[in-house]
Symmetry: C4
Subunit: 252 residues, 4 copies
């Protein structure tokens, strides 16, 4: 195997495809959002990306077989156009690996003549929330007003820490290729897996790309998480202060 190996599983003709990335990160917002798209629409696996920059690991599947750590790209058929949806269980484990994998992902986008890339993720607020703003960032100044019109918020140099990992590099390295890219970041406590934040991000995507998706299954998952959150707040009232991040990690 090479440093990065891309298996071309299928090469369908795509209609005006948009690239959507959702890898694990804060609140699993990006990954929840793209997994919901894969559940609700017809899709076809088109690429698998293997790399020594992903963990040396196989995951177990329902039937007892294993799958080597990889990142997958599916073609998702909306009514009027197609998406190329990238997801997986892992990001690269160190800096240069992040750069090299992000270039490989952009190569795939370009091979399908993608013109716009959306990187989906979460931005931590540090507190449990009722309303979920979606923050934006983009590598194309003209894109800001378009995104603002559908409710994406652009706040001064927020998040202050920038955008780290694959999402950040899709914007940064995409810009160097002349590929328009935006990051949509759903606000989330940062403590829990957050299906509500994922819904907020998908609602922006619906407006931008002109499609509709059923949120029932995501809503159910959100209610389960709400039960968890309520229990935490009870604990909080009984005890002193917020649960530690350590406690909450095991709940997510």
């Amino acid at each position: 195997m090479n440093e990065i190996t891309v298996d071309a599983v299928a090469d369908p003709e795509l209609r005006d495809p948009v690239f959507v990335e959702g890898l694990p990160g804060v609140g699993h917002v990006g990954k929840l959002a793209v997994e919901h798209l894969l559940e609700e629409f017809d899709s076809e696996l088109v690429r698998r990306v293997y790399s020594e920059h992903l963990p040396p690991q196989v995951v177990l599947q329902d039937d007892g077989t294993t799958q080597l750590s990889c990142v997958e790209v599916h073609a998702v058929a909306l009514d009027d156009r197609d998406l190329l949806v990238l997801t997986g269980d892992h990001q690269a484990s160190e800096g240069p690996g992040h750069y090299r994998l992000a270039e490989a992902f952009l190569d795939i986008a370009e091979a399908f003549d993608v013109e716009t890339v959306y990187a989906l993720g979460g931005v931590p607020t540090g507190e449990l929330m009722d309303e979920y703003a979606v923050l934006g960032a983009t590598n194309d100044a003209d894109f800001v007003s378009e995104l603002s019109e559908v409710g994406v918020e652009f706040r001064d140099e927020d998040p202050a820490g920038g955008i780290v990992g694959t999402s950040g590099l899709l914007l940064g390295l995409g810009e160097r290729r002349g590929l328009r890219a935006a990051c949509l970041m759903g606000e989330t406590s940062g403590y829990l897996v957050d299906p509500k934040s994922a819904r907020a991000v998908l609602e922006v995507l619906e407006e931008m790309l002109g499609f509709e998706v059923d949120f029932e299954s995501l809503e159910e998952r959100a209610e389960e998480m709400e039960d968890v959150a309520n229990k935490i707040q009870e604990m909080e009232n009984q005890q002193s202060g917020m649960p530690s991040e350590e406690d909450l990690r095991y709940i997510g």
Copy 2:
């Protein structure tokens, strides 16, 4: 020395060889199992693998001489067939090194026309145990029923964390070469070196490969470890709760 150097110590003709890996890991189950095979059967060293991805270290031998960190492959003569048994004191120290060494190990397997690979290891249960199930995972769906017939348990997506390191990659990278591979994981507390778990794994291998091995020496080692475990449980009764993982690490 290159990044990876394979010394071809011997090139015997092997009878329908099966590749068996047992490197250090949870409860040292895999390493104990393959070391027991090397003790009980005639064997011949056929390959030594050196690499800068192994620790920069020599180990001391009985006679005052040193040996550079390496992984060894021995040919083990059973009655009707041969095994290629891989073991050593170390796994790679980082991700890309794991991938590159696993490819080198698979190259050796293929050079000897191996058709099946067994990766032996342990799976931690977090508690001291009486009965030792052997969990399975494989890169070949058809292999599941064969393994189930001899008692290997396939549990839904268990272990949840997948299989990390050389064992995982032998399955994941083996699949890409069309090489059938299974991981046999003996349940073990995770606290102690566990010869009983190693025996449970070897008993599966006996059934699969049609050989018999004497377990006396492994049984003696198991009794020693049982004494240790009993002392721990006494301590446990006297004090509050389980010994910390920290305490137990020094006993293993």
Copy 3:
């Protein structure tokens, strides 16, 4: 993108240019100093350096757009000569990356026929200070007396830990190219962003290079930091001992 990519944004003719580096470090002294130069004088961006050895990250700008992690070199026009000023938000994340980026920076200096390099930084004293000595280090024995004449202090093997990172390598690798380089290190507590230390360093540079810069804006920032320092000393009097480095990190 290659391991290191240098974008040649502009190639102006420069008058006897001197290279001045100020990347993040102790008390942000070097970065504050060069940012002050960029604010007070006309400047032109001449190079951007991107690299997989910088963090996999974009930063957000005022207008909602992002910029990929990079190091920038600006040409700064003093009255009689020009400076090449290198700054950025990050240093390399590991050793070999530091070496490779420092070589790239020196290549830029040499492409503009630079003869002298100044690396600006801070040296931690561990206590809040009133007077700010500037310590020196150089790769050219003849340069010591010149620097001493304008007040730079050379203390026996101080700092004992040497000079780590880009500043150190500009001296060390610069020497191998026959490029004269000095490190000017403003004393600073190490606890706070320190504009006063940055001023002390710039005053040395003024004398060495024959220019004058207005310090008003830096003075304002220094007063803000003094307020912070005073609050800390109040806390200190109320409580026991100095604030922990942990506490202070969040103030900087």
Copy 4:
């Protein structure tokens, strides 16, 4: 600069040279020993080794100038033969760097037709000591008896952790080149810089190579350290238990 750059500073004719390595390690035993040889005998710098696998750092010298992290090899003139003495302030910072630098050191040894390599170091005992045994390890079984005759102790698989870093690799990689090498490890508490242990190691070397060295300056340094050790034992008597490793690190 390349990954590793070797500056050939001088190429003297050497009389039956023996290679002696002493880099920083447990109790600084190896480094103290070779530094003592460099102080007591005439020597000439013959090689400097620079590498991105050494820290990105310059050290400060008495005169205010800096020196890039490097490893140096000096030719040391004994009465009847010469030594090639390797020392420096650092070892490599990660595994592959250790391997690559060790190969570069062995290349230097071979370029001078060296037939024997001594790697000097310390082995931690965990307690302050009065008598200093010297443990041995070698890559050549025939060398064991020669070393035993001058008092080097070979203990069964001791140290159990093997020999890590440059010393270990000089034996391990040296063996692959057919180069005889031994590691001489002076017992030392592991808490303090230990000139007495360095003397014990040098006394073995005197016997093996037939030379005599004055130990006065090393003895003075040992007395200073003894004062430190006594103070620690006083503290120990006053307080409960041994000083923590943390405390002692700052004394070394």
